[in-house]
């Protein structure tokens, strides 16, 4: 019997089989941000365990609330800075160099096929787009990860989603993943890895694959994962060119991680996206998904474009394509947050920032900000937000607010009309 990509990664990193179901794995990268890490650092200090297993394998960023909004967030940043300095963690990204973790770390080339990655953040599953096993964990797991370089997981069972069909005009990877979550439901993939494969995925760029994997956790999945291929190698090439003679050699090497044809899956779901239309969430659960057409005309107060789901340059280009030469509707407000400094710089050079500002958007620095209602765009009670983010939970972007998740195209179209709008009609 062959193996899935996740099983191959587990085999290669097994430190100890601690029960029939549980495996302790060696970690290649431990990612850190200022919301879940400072409390881990404080606890390790208190317990006399303030050490790191390998400073080169720890990557840290201040991204959730940055620049600090108050004394408490300033203290979280301070604890991170002092810890990074104390342990000589070179890959620490502070104000001016910081961006949304799941957009920034891939951009720096930190995630490679076959890696094991953890972070105290549920959207860590994003990094599976590179053919890595990447999982969100809590603070205790983070503490052990930082201190000992290991983490425990249950043996990976995989749901394979085979996607075929060419996406229609202005139908995005976001629409694909929303439709998949609708089908799986919010706990349909609990304790499962979601493997995205098939011809549609093969033609997707890394940004699109990251959008898919990012939301695996919204169906309960431990990790989203894509097979590493030429697209992966091309994205990573600036970082791996010293390791391989040619790009072909890298592509060939990545093959060793790919799932075998006779691998065993917990479930295989085949979908054809040729007839998929733009999708949007309603209600407070990410599996409450409808075609945009059925929600069209719903009034919004705010439009938010950004986050680890859809704040990359490709997303900004998509939104700008609709916004060019137009204004946002009267009476609404719109915010765009390029996910990283590089995204911001590229958007400036490409003239996208000017398009957003001319349209009436507020352009923020890279931050997680309003996505989780911590800063920079929190909703008031009773307000509605059209958002390219990943969670529509009750109170997520502010107590009493309603969030409708959608693609950057749909969010931009909605900004122009002031009501939820099918982007194909603009």
């Amino acid at each position: 019997m062959g193996k899935t990509i996740a099983e191959k990664i587990f085999d290669a990193h097994l430190r100890e089989q601690v029960s029939a179901e549980n495996m302790v794995l060696d970690l290649d990268v431990v990612l850190c941000h200022e919301i879940t890490t400072p409390i881990a650092i404080m606890d390790l200090i208190e317990k006399g365990m303030d050490k790191v297993f390998d400073p080169t394998k720890i990557k840290a960023v201040i991204d959730h609330v940055t620049p600090a909004k108050d004394s408490k967030t300033a203290m979280q940043g301070k604890i991170m800075r002092e810890w990074a300095k104390r342990h000589k963690i070179k890959d620490f990204f502070d104000i001016g160099a910081n961006g949304v973790c799941h957009a920034l770390f891939p951009e720096k080339g930190f995630i490679r096929p076959g890696y094991t990655v953890i972070m105290g953040d549920s959207h860590t599953c994003t990094h599976g787009a590179f053919g890595a096993f990447a999982a969100g964990i809590g603070t205790t797991d983070l503490e052990v990860g930082m201190y000992k370089g290991v983490c425990s997981f249950r043996a990976p069972k995989t749901i394979k989603i085979e996607v075929e069909g060419e996406l229609g005009t202005r139908v995005a990877a976001k629409d694909v993943i929303l439709s998949i979550i609708k089908q799986l439901t919010v706990n349909g993939a609990t304790d499962r890895v979601i493997e995205f494969s098939g011809p549609t995925i093969d033609t997707m760029n890394m940004a699109e694959r990251m959008t898919l994997c990012n939301m695996a956790v919204e169906a309960g999945g431990t990790c989203g994962i894509c097979q590493p291929d030429r697209t992966t190698a091309e994205y990573l090439w600036p970082f791996i060119q010293d390791d391989y003679a040619t790009l072909d050699a890298a592509v060939e090497d990545f093959q060793r991680w790919c799932s075998d044809a006779d691998a065993e899956y917990a479930k295989v779901i085949k979908i054809n996206v040729a007839d998929l239309t733009p999708m949007v969430t309603h209600g407070y659960k990410p599996d409450q998904v409808k075609p945009v057409a059925e929600m069209a005309g719903t009034k919004v107060d705010q439009v938010y474009i950004g986050s680890c789901t859809n704040g990359r340059i490709e997303d900004l280009r998509a939104a700008a394509e609709i916004l060019k030469g137009k204004k946002i509707a009267e009476g609404i407000r719109a915010i765009v947050t390029p996910a990283t400094p590089l995204t911001y710089t590229m958007a400036l050079k490409e003239g996208l920032i000017a398009i957003f500002m001319d349209a009436g958007f507020c352009v923020l620095n890279p931050t997680c900000g309003a996505c989780l209602g911590m800063s920079a765009g929190v909703l008031a009670e009773g307000e509605v937000c059209a958002s390219t983010t990943n969670r529509n939970f009750n109170g997520r972007m502010g107590k009493g607010g309603m969030v409708h998740l959608m693609s950057p195209w749909t969010a931009a179209a909605t900004a122009v009309k002031g009501v939820i709008t099918d982007p194909r009609e603009i």
């Binding site: 408490k72 953040d121 809590g138 205790t140 503490e143 706990n187 989780l372 209602g373 009750n394």
Partner: protein, 175 residues
């Protein structure tokens, strides 16, 4: 081994998420105890705000809900919010992976019963006390007029974590 159990509070909900358990605005705290007043502050039950400051809530040591408990964010603050309010057993028909792992990593219990067994708990009338017999993996639910016992499955590694007092202590002694 540590004893688990006490007065129970029943929350008739699926998919109670971590934003409802502890809203993100409190994630700027760097002590666990600061989370204490805010547990379940944004929870809706039957579409209405839940009284998270009630006497029953204050007294409870065990929380019972339905499926997919603790979905959403990885924030261990959600587990600590229960812990600092002296609630160290959550009983549900299923848990989100990260929340469940965070519970055992803290050395406290996420107990899974079958959906029909959870239905039976919800059908019991009056104030409920739940006690846990870890050695035998038994859950005993008692009200003034009824008594029901259920066995639950507990993974051997999770049991070791509870015995060790959590994953950090376990990993520190072993790796």
């Amino acid at each position: 081994m540590r004893q688990f159990g006490g007065p129970a509070i029943l929350l008739d909900r699926n998919d109670i998420n971590t934003d409802e358990i502890i809203p993100a605005k409190y994630l700027t705290e760097i002590t666990k105890i600061a989370l204490r007043p805010h547990l379940l502050e944004d929870l809706l039950v039957d579409g209405k705000p839940f009284d998270h400051e009630s006497e029953a809530m204050r007294k409870a040591k065990v929380v019972v809900a339905r499926e997919n408990f603790g979905c959403g964010s990885s924030r261990e603050h959600a587990v600590w919010a229960f812990e600092v309010n002296d609630k160290d057993v959550i009983v549900a028909s299923s848990f989100a992976r990260i929340f469940r792992q965070n519970m055992f990593n803290c050395g406290i219990l996420a107990v899974e019963l079958k959906p029909e067994e959870i239905d039976q708990l919800f059908a019991m009338k009056g104030d409920m006390t739940i006690s846990i017999n870890l050695e035998k993996s038994l859950l005993l639910a008692e009200t003034a007029s009824e008594k029901k016992e259920f066995s639950f499955a507990m993974n051997s590694f999770d049991r070791q974590l509870v015995e060790a007092g959590g994953w950090l202590a376990y990993a520190d002694s072993k790796y």
